[in-house]
């Protein structure tokens, strides 16, 4: 069973995604802030879903730490946020994110489809130039 780490501080959304992912047959670990996320990344998930607006370490800072840590740097990180500014998206990909989704536009069935894409091909990277959010 594939393991997914979900780092999201909004409990309603965290619980929602957890349920959707579990229903689709994934094992889900959750973290509510950046520090916790960094710790739980060491449990070796196959994919990390990361929010940006987090208390303490924000998503981008956490991403930087994850990519600097040898034991976890190869785990694909997909950002799931409601921030859509082009400069933030660019920054995320520069820091090593492989995907970026806008929560409000991501239908639950699309979440599963996308997660499967990243799990099947851990080296897959979305072309951020083609993302048009803002």
């Amino acid at each position: 069973m594939k393991k997914i780490l979900l780092i999201e501080d909004e409990y309603f959304i965290s619980d929602l995604y957890k349920k959707i992912l579990q229903d689709a047959g994934f094992e889900v670990i959750t973290a509510m802030d950046g520090e916790q996320g960094l710790q739980k990344a060491k449990l070796g998930p196959d994919l990390i879903l990361l929010d940006i607006m987090l208390p303490g370490l924000n998503g981008l800072q956490l991403l930087q730490k994850l990519k600097a840590e040898n034991s976890v740097k190869n785990i694909p990180v997909v950002l799931i946020t409601n921030l859509a500014q082009a400069n933030i998206i660019k920054e995320a990909f520069n820091l090593g994110a492989c995907g970026y989704f806008l929560k409000v536009r991501l239908k639950p069935e699309d979440l599963i489809e996308q997660v499967n894409i990243f799990l099947t091909n851990p080296n897959f990277k979305m072309d951020y130039e083609k993302l048009v959010f803002d």
Binding site: E10, I13, Y17, N82, P108, K130, V132, D134
Partner: protein, 414 residues
């Protein structure tokens, strides 16, 4: 003894003297007249000089006291007039800039690109009088890069080249308005972003609710749930519309054109509103061409906003029993999509303003008035970004047909 001849001679000479005296008198008279005229002319000149000085004073005082910056340059673009407001705007003192070329004093930018001084203060055109350059929003940099936003108008006069006057620039400071506008857009972006978070939850949980529990519900319960779902979708598109307006105004609204199966996109957009169509007791028919359409390139997300906007309008302005028709056809090198309804229609006088921002057909309390007045403005912006066009035909009490045309994609455009 004097001979009679000499008398005659003498008399002749006397007469001549007399004549000459008379001539002298006449000349003196003329001279006195001339003198008088000259004095008069001199007095007039003095008076005129005074008037010119007064005019000049009036002009200078007006120039100094107006709130717009005025800068005039000579034919070599050296500054010859620089009023008080120009000092305030640029940070320079008049004595430091008089005689200096304008381009060494201010730098002018439009959307980040520098505007050459020969553009905003063009070379004098002989015989022309009036405005030679005008822009509503420019950024200028003065002393130590002091930044402001201005409306700039450059004018020239017919006598320009003979009095060595190039352009007269008037700069109206709009920095504060720009700042307010930016704050307004930032606020809209921020508020819309904050609204997205609870909306994500609402939409997500309704999704799970429908997926897991709809099968156990009776018809009444299912209707309630579906109405919640419809409302959440409506709220989400309202929020997106607010964000779109902020993007359009900022100039950050972009499209990513990709090949798309147009009929599939239409079917998708229609299926998204079917619940609302049924709920309102309307009938919707699809008229798609039987053979494949040529390729169009669209930004799926954006063009879907146009489709769902037109469909939602057709639903909102129809009453139970109304008919909505969605038709797609190829005409020339355009794919035309039409959404027709049998609703209340739009008054003729409102038609030209329909695609204007914030325009609404009727006042907020009048019957049938719905929406923010943003949808069609956004639809038009999106259509234009697809190099297309959008228009409407309508008859009061009979219905409306909204159409938009997208150009067929051609290989050589690549």
């Amino acid at each position: 003894m004097v001979s009679s001849d000499s008398y005659e001679e003498l008399a002749k000479k006397l007469k001549l003297i007399d004549q000459q005296n008379k001539q002298l008198d006449d000349a003196t008279k003329i001279l006195i007249e001339r003198d008088f005229e000259l004095r008069k002319a001199y007095d007039e000149l003095e008076k005129e000089k005074e008037q010119v000085a007064a005019e000049r004073n009036k002009f200078l005082v007006a120039l100094q006291s107006i709130s717009d910056a005025v800068i005039a340059v000579d034919l070599d673009w050296n500054i010859i007039i620089f009023n008080k407001a120009a000092e305030n705007l640029t940070g320079y003192a008049v004595e430091d800039v008089l005689g200096k070329p304008i381009f060494s004093v201010i730098k002018v930018f439009e959307n980040g690109a520098q505007v050459p001084y020969t553009t905003y203060s063009p070379k004098i055109i002989s015989g022309f009088e009036g405005v030679v350059f005008s822009k509503p929003i420019l950024r200028i940099c003065g002393l130590n890069n002091k930044e402001s936003f201005v409306q700039l108008i450059a004018a020239q006069i017919t006598e320009g080249s003979s009095v060595k006057l190039g352009s007269i620039l008037t700069l109206h400071d709009i920095t504060e308005e720009q700042e307010l506008e930016r704050m307004k857009l930032d606020f809209v972006s921020m508020a819309a972003h904050e609204l997205r978070t609870p909306l994500t939850s609402i939409k997500g949980y309704i999704y799970i609710f429908i997926r897991d529990y709809l099968k156990f519900m009776d018809e009444k319960q299912a209707t309630i749930l579906q109405r919640m779902d419809i409302s959440a979708q409506k709220l989400a598109s309202l929020v997106e519309n607010l964000l779109n307006i902020a993007r359009i105004e900022r100039g950050t609204f972009t499209v990513n054109l990709q090949p798309a199966d147009w009929t599939a996109l239409i079917k998708g957009a229609v299926s998204e509103v079917m619940a609302q169509v049924k709920d309102k007791g309307l009938e919707l028919t699809l008229d798609l061409p039987p053979v494949g359409l040529p390729e169009v390139r669209v930004d799926r997300l954006r063009i879907n906003e146009v489709l769902s906007n037109l469909l939602t309008n057709a639903i909102n302005y129809s009453v139970s029993g109304g008919k909505i028709k969605v038709a797609v056809k190829l005409q020339g090198d355009e794919v035309i999509t039409q959404v027709s309804d049998t609703g209340q229609g739009i008054p003729q006088e409102a038609l030209p303003h329909l695609f204007t921002k914030f325009f609404r057909v009727s006042g907020p309390l009048e019957q049938g008035s719905k929406g923010t007045g943003l949808g069609l403005y956004i639809a038009k912006s999106i259509t234009l970004m697809h190099h297309g066009r959008i228009w409407v035909d309508s008859q009061l009490n009979k219905g409306s047909t909204f159409s938009f045309a997208l150009p067929v994609y051609r290989e050589e455009e690549k």
